[in-house]
């Protein structure tokens, strides 16, 4: 789950004792003018949970309230990535002397947290990694401990940080603690800036909350941004199902992420195009009734593949849900079944008896028939 900059700064950085610029969140150009009146020369920043805001024209300087109002009017309503700008952060301007990059994230290969620091702040870390890999310092951390002061000092050594080094070391420590207590998947300050007055301040912040930790981060999860979704995807999310609507015409209802992706691959292999990704694996296998409703509600669907291969997911339970939904929805498009694994005998019988449809012996045959029917 992504957070907008203002939420990441106030909920995470400020709470962790990391300095941030004075800022006011606004929803209209008039509010922006008022905020600029209070703050003085300011930066008007589009609040959307995605990168490249500056390049998209979503971050502009304003020296007077009038300018702030004009700039705010331009930025509000702008499309950046998949988002429309509805909020602005009005922040005091900073006199930047040096820019740094600091982040804590999961090193999935090492299976432990990793702190990254670079003196090449202000640009994408991927670009730094490509252009100047030596400019990125890495500090792996033992999950059962916090980084030791001397390890942080070692990471910052030789970077000519002068008086800022103490402040940065403290920010590294605080940021790591925030990463741990807030179940961050990524917590990034870019740039972390040394200002003309000698202070080190976080000018931007990216916070991604681990989706699996939302249950224990309830006090902040509500401030996170919902990913952009189609109406159908939202209906899926409300039912607790991960649905991705695609632009093809062969609907997919399969259990398990691996089998679902494979069904999509085989649709493509036979020259068809999948209309959706929808997974009812894991505990969600009992939701096949609503799942069938969802895939049939996609207006692009011309045929449907129902591909069950039960391990944990019992095919008899899934088939039962499909049959129930079928009697209510009475599908208008041709549907092709392939059913194997746990509960297959009962499931196949159910589909034959209740729907009068013979499931295919081979998944590939069911998919090929569905691709043909959709053409």
């Amino acid at each position: 789950m992504n957070f907008e900059e203002h939420a990441a700064k106030s909920l995470i950085l400020h709470q962790a004792g990391i300095p941030i610029p004075r800022g006011i969140l606004c929803k209209t150009a008039d509010e922006a003018a008022q905020a600029a009146q209070e703050i003085g020369p300011c930066v008007v920043k589009a609040q959307v949970p995605t990168g490249k805001r500056g390049k998209a024209g979503g971050i502009k300087l304003a020296n007077t309230p009038q300018e702030a109002q004009q700039v705010a009017a331009q930025i509000l309503g702008m499309r950046i990535g998949d988002y429309t700008v509805e909020r602005l952060l009005i922040e005091e301007q900073a006199r930047i002397v040096r820019e740094f990059y600091l982040a804590v994230l999961h090193d999935t290969a090492a299976r432990k947290p990793l702190i990254l620091f670079s003196t090449e702040g202000g640009m994408d870390i991927e670009e730094v990694a490509a252009a100047k890999p030596g400019a990125i310092r890495r500090l792996p951390v033992d999950i059962d401990n916090v980084p030791r002061a001397r390890d942080i000092a070692g990471m910052l050594e030789g970077l000519d940080l002068g008086a800022a080094e103490q402040q940065i070391a403290q920010i590294v420590d605080n940021l790591y603690r925030a990463y741990r207590t807030r179940d961050a998947e990524l917590l990034e300050i870019n740039p972390l800036a040394l200002l003309g007055d000698g202070r080190v301040v976080a000018l931007d912040c990216k916070f991604v909350l681990d989706d699996s930790s939302v249950f224990r981060q309830g006090d902040i999860a509500g401030a996170g941004s919902a990913p952009p979704m189609t109406d159908l995807e939202r209906r899926g999310a409300e039912a607790g199902l991960k649905l991705i609507q695609l632009d093809g015409n062969v609907g997919v209802l399969a259990n398990g992420a691996g089998l679902t992706m494979t069904t999509m691959d085989v649709i493509r292999h036979y020259g068809g195009t999948p209309a959706n990704f929808l997974e009812i694996g894991g505990e969600a296998y009992t939701k096949s009734e609503i799942a069938l409703d969802l895939v049939l509600s996609n207006p692009g669907v011309k045929s449907l593949v129902i591909n069950f291969c039960g391990a944990f997911a019992r095919t008899d339970v899934m088939a039962d849900g499909v049959v129930k939904a079928w009697h209510k929805l009475k599908p208008k498009v041709p549907v092709f079944f392939s059913i194997h694994g746990t509960g297959e005998v009962e499931a196949v019988k159910l589909v034959k008896d209740e729907l009068g449809i013979e499931p295919y012996d081979f998944m590939e045959d069911a998919i090929q028939a569905a691709v043909k029917a959709a053409q």
Partner: protein, 296 residues
């Protein structure tokens, strides 16, 4: 990581609905389930298995080589750490959606105590005709039969399909190793490949991979020294870039973990990469120089 009939298995969360269902299936198939864990029901027995308050107590009383957990995500870390501390050699973590930082803590505890974790988010392991641990349909005769092909899979559902196709072609399996769909796994594709390479009962190896992460690439490096025939299918060729497809590990950003990159690496490692699951069995048969009994 190939489970055997002699391995003493304890089931964490044995008294829940899924724990009960799958423990009965495991016992019926031949798995040596020696105990279950539920602190509130210690001293009782459930589906014919004695219940202990902790993995440590079970280990002391009946021995515990393998622990398998039917544990909801918020409690998964604590259960796993206790099992590692109790000295189990193999810990099978079925749970999906465990907080990532809890997963890291589990791996740290496992490393400290010399425990191998399989998972998280695995469907478990099957040794056809002998035993199984987890939530795989080992007991469905159309899916699994004893034989000499080792199968490694990140996905339970797709792994089931692949074993079904092998069985239909007359190719039984020596072992199915479900490594799991999470981004941070205790046992990687490479680890499983090494185990099957060293297993005297395995003559050919099937790798069922997925887009995302770098595990197939790492396995491809190891594959260069494997003499047994290897066949791979990688799911996700048609997946749109940048979208999470259920398994958090299956996210592609840039070129890292892409279908093309994995295919190229595996082929360079001497692995035959096929386009659809139905092509796996014929490719294995060709590698072994045997005729398949079902249609191609």
């Amino acid at each position: 990581m190939i489970v055997r009939k002699k391995d003493r298995v304890v089931v964490l969360g044995i008294t829940g609905k899924q724990g009960t269902f799958w423990t009965e299936k495991m016992i019926a198939y031949g798995t040596n389930v020696v105990g279950g864990i539920n602190p509130k029901r210690a001293g009782e027995s459930h589906v014919g298995v004695p219940i202990f308050a902790s993995t440590a107590e079970a280990a002391k009383a009946v021995g515990a080589d393998v622990a398998v957990g039917f544990i909801p995500p918020p409690m998964a870390k604590e259960a796993a750490v206790s099992a590692a501390e109790a000295g189990v050699k193999l810990l099978v973590v079925l749970t999906e959606h465990i907080p990532a930082q809890d997963v890291m803590a589990m791996h740290a505890a496992a490393a400290k105590h010399g425990t191998r974790i399989v998972g998280p988010n695995t469907a478990g392991m099957v040794t056809p005709g002998e035993c199984f641990v987890g939530i795989m349909p080992a007991f469905v005769p159309s899916v699994f039969k004893p034989g000499r092909v080792g199968v490694i899979s990140r996905s339970g559902s797709l792994g089931t399909l692949v074993c079904l196709n092998l069985t239909r072609a007359g190719l039984g399996q020596s072992a199915f190793i479900g490594i799991g769909g999470d981004p941070m796994l205790g046992t990687t594709t490479r680890d499983a490949l090494e185990a099957l390479d060293q297993d005297a009962g395995t003559d050919a190896i099937v790798i069922v991979g997925e887009i995302g992460g770098g595990m197939e690439e790492a396995a491809a490096e190891y594959a260069k020294r494997v003499a047994k025939p290897m066949v791979a299918f990688i799911a996700g060729a048609a997946a749109p870039a940048g979208k999470k497809m259920g398994h958090a590990g299956a996210i592609v950003t840039g070129n890292i973990g892409s279908y093309a990159g994995k295919r190229k690496a595996l082929e360079a490692g001497g692995v035959v990469v096929v386009d659809t699951p139905a092509q796996i069995a014929p490719a294995v048969a060709a590698g072994l120089g045997v005729r398949v009994t079902a249609r191609m």
